[in-house]
């Protein structure tokens, strides 16, 4: 439905330096799907979103919606933002403080090219306000709303003109943690129910994993990896993605050889590790192993730990987090983090065993960083 091809956007920053904020960004979003641009601040995700919105003018590439070009560097096409009919929720929500809730929401219908009668406007606005649960405060001053209500109002305003595409720029980042969790569910429910094609920008990996059909992880203006959430989490293609999405242990190692079943044997400071996910590498290559803390199974005895990928270490520190217990385990000189059920009682300084399923172990080419 949305097709972004080779998008390049530049801007001049405060020090008169040309910043290449988005470089050769290419992706497709099918009808009704939620696509997330994920990355640290300054990675170009917001610039990409603003280019789609028409608030930034890219220098190269093209953007098409349903086969219609809205931006094309070659054909010199640029549809201004107010002709694109996309709904957008801004990070600050951008609620107009001089209008009531209702007026904020009715604004798009009043100024758009399509003319509506007063009754139609009233009907549509109240319907969309009801959908976000704000119909009872329609006449209230927009500035008297709480953070969560402002966020809903911004969403209602974006939805009221029945946009072709919904653009969300870190819509949950200004909310407190509890509310954020709640709004995350609501957003997902609405998006799925209304089958709105949505582009979502966030730096919060949990949000991205929870909401998306597909995630593109960005770094320095480029898309590093593009995949469904599970794949991004389980099979990151680079150290950057593994590090940015979730917590992980990185262990440097050298490839020793291949097993008959295709598994890789890697020598590392914690010992020889069997890795199920083959990467194209030869014996002697430097690799970085990535193991998620929750995939480290912790045992009191070697017998309980089983046979494959078992390591012995000493408990270095223990942090109780309520739902989980974090063990920092020292193996030789390497410290690894294991996230386990709080039932484990091994004391600090005690000997501990842990195992890792080869399937849950990833070898990343070190040079790919």
């Amino acid at each position: 439905m949305l097709n972004v091809q080779g998008l390049n956007t530049e801007y001049v920053d405060g020090n008169n330096v040309r910043v290449r904020a988005a470089r050769d960004v290419t992706f497709d979003v099918p009808e009704g799907k939620l696509f997330t641009l994920l990355g640290p601040s300054g990675c170009g995700k917001t610039t990409t979103l603003r280019s789609i919105a028409g608030l930034e003018r890219p220098v190269g590439g093209s953007i098409t919606v349903n086969g219609v070009t809205i931006f094309g560097a070659n054909s010199n096409t640029f549809v201004p933002p107010n002709k694109r009919q996309f709904g957008m929720v801004f990070q600050s929500y951008a609620i107009w403080p001089h209008m009531s809730v209702f007026r904020n929401c009715s604004f798009p219908l009043e100024v758009g090219t399509k003319k509506f009668s007063k009754r139609e406007i009233e009907e549509r606005v109240m319907r969309v306000l009801a959908a976000v649960g704000l119909d009872h405060v329609a006449e209230r001053d927009a500035t008297k709303m709480s953070g969560g209500q402002q966020q809903r109002l911004a969403l209602a305003r974006a939805l009221v003109m029945e946009p072709k595409l919904l653009l969300l720029d870190e819509p949950l980042s200004n909310l407190d943690a509890k509310l954020r969790d709640k709004m995350r569910f609501e957003l997902k429910r609405m998006q799925r129910e209304l089958r709105l094609t949505t582009i979502y920008v966030t730096h919060d990996q949990e949000e991205a994993l929870a909401l998306s059909h597909e995630i593109a992880v960005m770094r320095e203006g480029r898309i590093v990896q593009k995949a469904p959430p599970r794949e991004i989490y389980d099979l990151p293609n680079s150290r950057f993605v593994a590090d940015f999405v979730g917590n992980t242990n990185f262990i440097e190692g050298t490839v020793r050889g291949h097993e008959p079943d295709g598994h890789l044997i890697v020598d590392s400071p914690i010992g020889a590790v069997t890795v199920a996910n083959p990467v194209a590498c030869a014996v002697g290559d430097k690799v970085t192993l990535s193991m998620r803390p929750e995939n480290l199974m912790v045992y009191e005895t070697r017998e309980a730990a089983g046979a494959a990928n078992v390591f012995e270490g000493k408990v270095f520190t223990k942090v109780f987090l309520g739902e989980t217990l974090d063990f920092q385990i020292k193996v030789n000189e390497q410290v690894v983090l294991a996230r386990v059920h709080p039932a484990h009682k091994t004391p600090v300084g005690g000997t501990i065993f842990f195992s890792v399923d080869p399937q849950r172990c990833i070898a990343l080419r070190t040079d790919a960083a």
Partner: protein, 581 residues
């Protein structure tokens, strides 16, 4: 609810077919501001190289104006007087203003809030009235203060002589001390007290903290305030004309006025004086903007309100409160009282019990029936209302371009719109007079030329007010309008202007006041039929009709107070409530 409509296919890459109103409005604003700022300046420079055109002798190119202007020791003396006067007045204003600001912001003096509120009142009193009332108070022969002190202490000679450099410095400095007060209050308020507190925590004592931290932090604000006051005093016209001219104490502004007022008018000579004045004010304001922008790193502009540290000064707080009372006495009560007194006389007499038996309202009767007055009031109202409205609309568009767009050359537009700041009112009046005389577009001698001059002169003030509010408008507020399919003009008129309203209203009221007070530009541009109230007062003074003038002054001051309160009431009623953004 079905929100995904099926007509999603009809998204044509529409180009705007008709000429966008955006570019019409922007282009118009750019054009107007450049014409207003540049044309008078060009004509002024041009004129300074030509001889006056008298009857049938055509104007000819000459360096004579500059030779006369800069070839005599008289000019050196005038320049020296100007600099001495401006420096003195700036220091007087600065000292009084800073003292009051410090008392107001940093001490626990009682009734601070009330004092702050009444500092607005002196801003309303026109300069010409303030000067005249101080002449009534401190002139050696008739001055009320002199008479009072003489009879109280049996002095043989008058205590004060207003007709001196000291007198000029005092009156001008005192009048503009409120300006210094407002500027320095802002500086004190912008100072983060935690900067001083961390110095104290580091082990520095109060004195060392004051010297190493407080003073250094305040330095940019101090220098910039002094420069503004200096330039302002240099441009001052009322005080040098009313106090300096009778005793031949010439400064640049009064020389310009004299050059024009002789027969035949030496417009070329006046222009060459003006060029010198322009050079000095330009340098002053350039330095000021450098200092102020360099000082940006010292002030915190997060808009987060600090709680300024208040010093408990113990019993001294009654002294500081006393200072406030004396100040208010000097700047409002005494001037107003002497005007009211003299307005109730048949002919001017110093206050005394004997004279109190002859109070009469004749002067008021005379003024109300003065035929020119009705014109003048209408003219003043029309001028100030249209000027304030035009200035605020124009500056809204210009500020939007400067702050919100990335158009190349927008800094130039900003500078163009602020350029009139270097024009002293008299020089601006002269420039417009030259334009009006040389280019026959039928505006000379009408209200239009006055209006154009006013708009030019006050556009920079409008820009200041609008700029502050414009910066505070988060850019996403406008972008979300664009995403809601609003065209540029819909977004501008329905989002930007309403959000600017508090700033626009405040600026509008300010421009309204200064337009009513305006004298130094009008004095060169008015003709019979286009007098303003300030001009009528000026003419009454020239005719020696002191009691009639006092009556008009009293009425004018009260009318202005009513006007301002009304405007503020309306502004408060229809202003936007404080927003979170």
């Amino acid at each position: 609810m079905e929100l995904t409509s099926d007509d999603a296919v009809d998204l044509p890459a529409r180009r705007s077919r008709r000429l966008d109103s955006k570019w019409l409005i922007i282009g118009g604003a750019v054009l107007i501001s450049s014409v207003l700022a540049l044309i008078p300046l060009c004509f002024l420079l041009w004129q300074s190289f030509f001889t006056p055109q008298v009857a049938d002798v055509p104007a000819a190119f000459t360096f004579g104006n500059y030779r006369i202007a800069y070839g005599s020791t008289q000019t050196l003396r005038t320049l020296g007087n100007s600099l001495r006067f401006a420096t003195g007045a700036a220091l007087v204003s600065f000292f009084i203003g800073t003292l009051l600001a410090w008392i107001n912001e940093r001490t626990n003096t009682p009734f601070r809030k009330f004092f702050f509120a009444i500092t607005i009142v002196p801003l309303i009193i026109p300069g010409i009235l303030f000067t005249i009332s101080w002449i009534f108070l401190a002139s050696p022969r008739i001055g009320a203060l002199n008479v009072a002190f003489k009879s109280l202490f049996g002095l043989s000679r008058p205590l004060f002589n207003i007709y001196s450099m000291g007198g000029m410095v005092w009156v001008d400095g005192l009048h503009y001390s409120t300006m210094a007060f407002l500027l320095m209050s802002a500086a004190f308020r912008g100072m983060d007290p935690s900067l001083e507190e961390s110095s104290l925590m580091s082990g520095a004592g109060i004195a060392r903290t004051l010297w190493r931290i407080t003073f250094r932090l305040a330095l940019p604000a101090v220098v910039s305030t002094l420069l503004i006051l200096f330039v302002r005093a240099l441009e001052s016209f009322e005080v040098p004309a009313l106090i300096g001219l009778p005793v031949k104490l010439q400064v640049l502004t009064s020389s310009i006025y004299e050059a024009i007022n002789q027969y035949p008018s030496q417009i070329g000579l006046a222009s060459s004086y003006s060029v010198l004045l322009l050079v000095i004010t330009s340098i002053g304001l350039y330095l000021q903007s450098r200092v102020a922008s360099g000082g940006g790193k010292y002030t915190t502009t997060t808009g987060k309100g600090f709680r300024p540290r208040e010093m408990d000064i113990g019993a001294w707080r009654f002294v500081t409160a006393g200072i406030y009372v004396v100040y208010f006495l000097l700047i409002v009560v005494l001037p107003l009282a002497v005007l009211i007194w003299s307005s109730l006389q048949k002919y001017y007499r110093s206050p005394s019990l004997a004279a109190a038996h002859h109070l009469t309202l004749d002067a008021y009767r005379y003024i109300i029936h003065l035929p020119v007055l009705r014109h003048a009031v209408v003219n003043s109202l029309v001028l100030s209302f249209s000027c304030a409205t035009a200035v605020m609309l124009l500056s809204a568009v210009i500020c939007w371009i400067v702050v919100k767009t990335k158009l190349p050359g927008r800094w130039l537009l900003d500078n163009l719109a602020s350029l009139p700041l270097v024009f002293p009112g008299l020089v601006l009046g002269l420039s417009f007079m030259i334009v009006g005389l040389k280019v026959d577009i039928g505006i000379y001698g009408t209200l239009w030329i006055l209006l154009l001059a006013y708009i030019t002169r006050f556009l920079p003030y409008g820009m200041r007010y609008t700029n502050t509010s414009m910066i505070q408008i988060h850019k996403e507020l406008e972008e979300s309008a664009a995403m809601s399919c609003a065209s540029w003009s819909a977004a501008f008129f329905r989002i930007v202007l309403p959000l600017l309203k508090p700033g626009l209203m405040a600026g509008w009221i300010y421009v309204l006041i200064v337009s009513v007070r305006e004298l130094s530009s009008s004095i060169l541009l008015y003709s019979p039929g286009s007098e303003t109230v300030s001009i009528v007062i000026w003419e009454l003074w020239q005719n020696g009709q002191y009691v009639e003038l006092s009556a008009l002054s009293v009425m004018l001051i009260f009318a202005l107070i009513v006007l301002v309160s009304l405007a503020q009431y309306i502004g408060g009623k229809f202003g936007v409530k404080a927003s979170r953004h």
